[in-house]
C-alpha cells in the first residue's frame, strides 16, 4: 500500500486544525456565552452544515455500509429518523432558542434547572446525560483512530492515533469553543457530502459498468431479495423494532443538539436551517450502495462495518481511498466535537456552578479545563482499551436520554408538570430501560427505551397531579419567552 491515502487523511487533520484555530478570529472566548454558544451568532447555512455534519457520524461511513452489507434496506431507518429530528428541530428549536436568549441558558440542563427551579434536577440531568454523550464521543474517537491506524498500515498504533485525534480537537475546542465546532463542521459537512457521492458513484461504475445505482439493486432483486425488505437479510429488523427505534431516536433530545440550537442568531435562522436539513441526508444513499456492492465484492468479510474501507483499500485509486479516509475521519470528528464540548460545558455550568456560585467567566475557564480532563482522563483511556460493551453503555445512555422527555413535556406542552413528577417518571423509566437493555434485551422486539417510556409517562402524569406545580411566575415567564406573540 502506498502512503498517499494516509498523507491525504493527515492533510485533512491539519486543515481542520487550521480552520478550528481561525474560528476564534476577532472574538474573545473569555465570555461563557461566546465559548458555549458562539455568542448566539450562527446563520442558517452554518447551522445547516453544523447540525447536518454533527448528526452524520462515523456511522454513515462505516456503520451504514456495514448495515447494508449485513441487513440490507433496514439501514434506511436512519434516513427516516434523521428527517424527523429536523421536524423536532423546526418545532422545538425556536422555543429553546428564545428561552436561551431571554434567560441566558447555554445548556439543556440549565433550562431544566430554571423550569423546575431545581438545581438537583438540572445536575442529575447533566450527569446522567453524560453517560450517553461520553459513550458516543468514545465511539467516534475509536472510529477516528481506527481510520488512522488502518491507513498508516499499522505504523500508527491505535493509542497514538487516539491521542493525535483528541489532541487536534482539544487545541481548537479550547481556543475557539463552539465557533470552532461551527466552522470545522461546515468544512467537514461539505467534504463528507462530496466524498460520499464520489465514492458511491465510482464504486457503482467500477463494479457494474453503469453510473446508476439501479444496476446494483437489480442483481439483489434477482438473487437476494431478502436484502430489499424488512426484516432484512439477517431477520433482525422487525416492524416493531423499526417503529420504536425511530420514535425513541426522534425524542431523545441529546444535549449537544440544544447547544447547537442556542447558537443560532435568531429563531428564524434556526427554522430555515431545519427546513432544509433533511436534504443533507442524501449523503447516506451512496454509502449504503457501497455496502450493497460489498456483498458481492467482499463476501467473506469478518467485520461488516469495515466494508467501505476494505473496498477502498483493495480496489479504489489511492487518492480516492485517501479521500474516503479523510471523509470518515471528518464524520467521526464532526460528531465527537459537540459531544465533548457540551459535556464539559454542562459539568461546569450545571453541576459545579450551582454548588460554588462561580461567575460566568470563571465557569467558561472551568469548562475549558474540564474539556482537557474529560479528553485525557476519560475518553482517551476508554477509547484505547476499545471496550466490547461500549455499545451497550451507549444504548443505555440513549435510552436514558429518552427518559428525560417528561422534563420537556413540562417545558413545552404541560405547565402542570411538577418537579417531583419529572423525577419520578425519569427514574422509573431509567430503571426499566436499564433492565430491558442489560437483562432482558428489547422484549417483544420493542426498543428498551420505549418500554421505559411506557412506565415513565404514566408515573410522571400521576405524580405531577398529586404534587404541587412549579410557581406560576416561572410558568408565565417560560410561556412569555417561548410564545411572545401569544402572550403580549
Amino acid at each position: 500500500m502506498t502512503e498517499t491515502p494516509f498523507l491525504i487523511t493527515v492533510g485533512y487533520l491539519i486543515v481542520a486544525l487550521g480552520i478550528g484555530l481561525y474560528a476564534r478570529h476577532g472574538h474573545s472566548m473569555a465570555r461563557l456565552e461566546q465559548w458555549a454558544v458562539a455568542g448566539r451568532s450562527m446563520g442558517s447555512v452554518t447551522l445547516y452544515l453544523l447540525i447536518g455534519a454533527g448528526s452524520i457520524s462515523a456511522y454513515t461511513f462505516m456503520g451504514a455500509p456495514g448495515w447494508a452489507y449485513s441487513k440490507g434496506v433496514p439501514v434506511f431507518y436512519v434516513v427516516v429518523y434523521l428527517s424527523y429530528l429536523a421536524l423536532v428541530a423546526w418545532y422545538v428549536g425556536p422555543k429553546v432558542w428564545r428561552l436561551g436568549n431571554a434567560f441566558g441558558h447555554v445548556t439543556q440542563a440549565s433550562a431544566i434547572r430554571d423550569r423546575y427551579q431545581s438545581a438537583g434536577l438540572g445536575a442529575l440531568a447533566a450527569l446522567v446525560m453524560s453517560i450517553g454523550t461520553l459513550s458516543y464521543a468514545v465511539l467516534q474517537t475509536i472510529g477516528a483512530a481506527y481510520i488512522l491506524n488502518v491507513f498508516s498500515g499499522g505504523a500508527l498504533p491505535v493509542s497514538a492515533a487516539v491521542w493525535l485525534v483528541l489532541g487536534v480537537m482539544a487545541i481548537y475546542l479550547v481556543v475557539s469553543g463552539q465557533r470552532a465546532i461551527g466552522l470545522t463542521n461546515a468544512f467537514q459537512g461539505g467534504l463528507m457530502l462530496i466524498v460520499a457521492w464520489w465514492v458511491g458513484l465510482w464504486a457503482t461504475h467500477q463494479f457494474t459498468g453503469s453510473w446508476q445505482f439501479g444496476a446494483v439493486f437489480e442483481r439483489f432483486q434477482r438473487e437476494r431479495p431478502e436484502y430489499l425488505t424488512l426484516p432484512g437479510a439477517d431477520g433482525s429488523m422487525s416492524f416493531s423494532f423499526w417503529t420504536t427505534a425511530i420514535v425513541v431516536s426522534m425524542i431523545s433530545f441529546m444535549p449537544p443538539v440544544w447547544v447547537q440550537w442556542m447558537s443560532a442568531k435568531s429563531a428564524g435562522a434556526l427554522r430555515r436551517s431545519a427546513t432544509w436539513l433533511p436534504s443533507y441526508y442524501v449523503i447516506i444513499l451512496p454509502m449504503v450502495v457501497v455496502g450493497f456492492i460489498g456483498v458481492w465484492a467482499l463476501p467473506e468479510l469478518s467485520r461488516a462495518d469495515t466494508v467501505a474501507l476494505e473496498l477502498a483499500l483493495t480496489s479504489m485509486p489511492v487518492w480516492l481511498a485517501g479521500l474516503l479516509g479523510a471523509g470518515t475521519l471528518a464524520a467521526a470528528m464532526s460528531s465527537c466535537e459537540p459531544f465533548l464540548h457540551s459535556t464539559a460545558l454542562t459539568w461546569a455550568n450545571d453541576v459545579v456552578k450551582p454548588m460554588t456560585g462561580l461567575s460566568d467567566d470563571a465557569t467558561a475557564r472551568l469548562a475549558r479545563g474540564l474539556l482537557i480532563v474529560i479528553m485525557a482522563g476519560i475518553v482517551a483511556p476508554v477509547a484505547i482499551t476499545e471496550p466490547s460493551n461500549l455499545v451497550m453503555i451507549l444504548l443505555v445512555g440513549l435510552g436514558f436520554a429518552a427518559q428525560v422527555v417528561p422534563a420537556f413535556i413540562g417545558m413545552f406542552l404541560w405547565p402542570r408538570a411538577s418537579t417531583v413528577g419529572v423525577y419520578a417518571g425519569l427514574l422509573s423509566g431509567f430503571v426499566v430501560t436499564l433492565l430491558f437493555t442489560v437483562i432482558w434485551r428489547n422484549p417483544l422486539d420493542i426498543h428498551a427505551g420505549f418500554w421505559g417510556l411506557l412506565l415513565n409517562l404514566p408515573v410522571f402524569v400521576w405524580v405531577s397531579l398529586r404534587t404541587p406545580p412549579v410557581a406560576e411566575e416561572v410558568i408565565d415567564r417560560f410561556e412569555w419567552a417561548m410564545n411572545p406573540r401569544r402572550s403580549h
Binding site: 421536524l87 432483486q221 425511530i246
Partner: protein, 77 residues
Amino acid sequence: MKKPLALMRPSTRGGWLCVGLFLLVIVSGLWPVVAWVNRPVLVAGLPLLAVWAYVIVGASTLAMVIGNRICGRGDDD
C-alpha cells in the same frame, strides 16, 4: 389556582395545520404504513423502502416549508 394548567395547544388554525401535517409525515414512516411499501420491487432503480425513506425526506421538507408560510412568521426576533 388562578390559571388553568392544561396542555398548551396551538392557538390558530395554521398552528393546528402544522401539527397535523407533521403528524401525517411521522406516521408515514412507521408501521403500519411502512408495511405497505415493504416489497422487493425497484422504483427508479432503488428498493421501494429506500425510495419511501427519501419520499419522507421530501415530505418533511415540504411540511416545514408550508409551516414557515403559515405559522413561522415573526421568527427573526
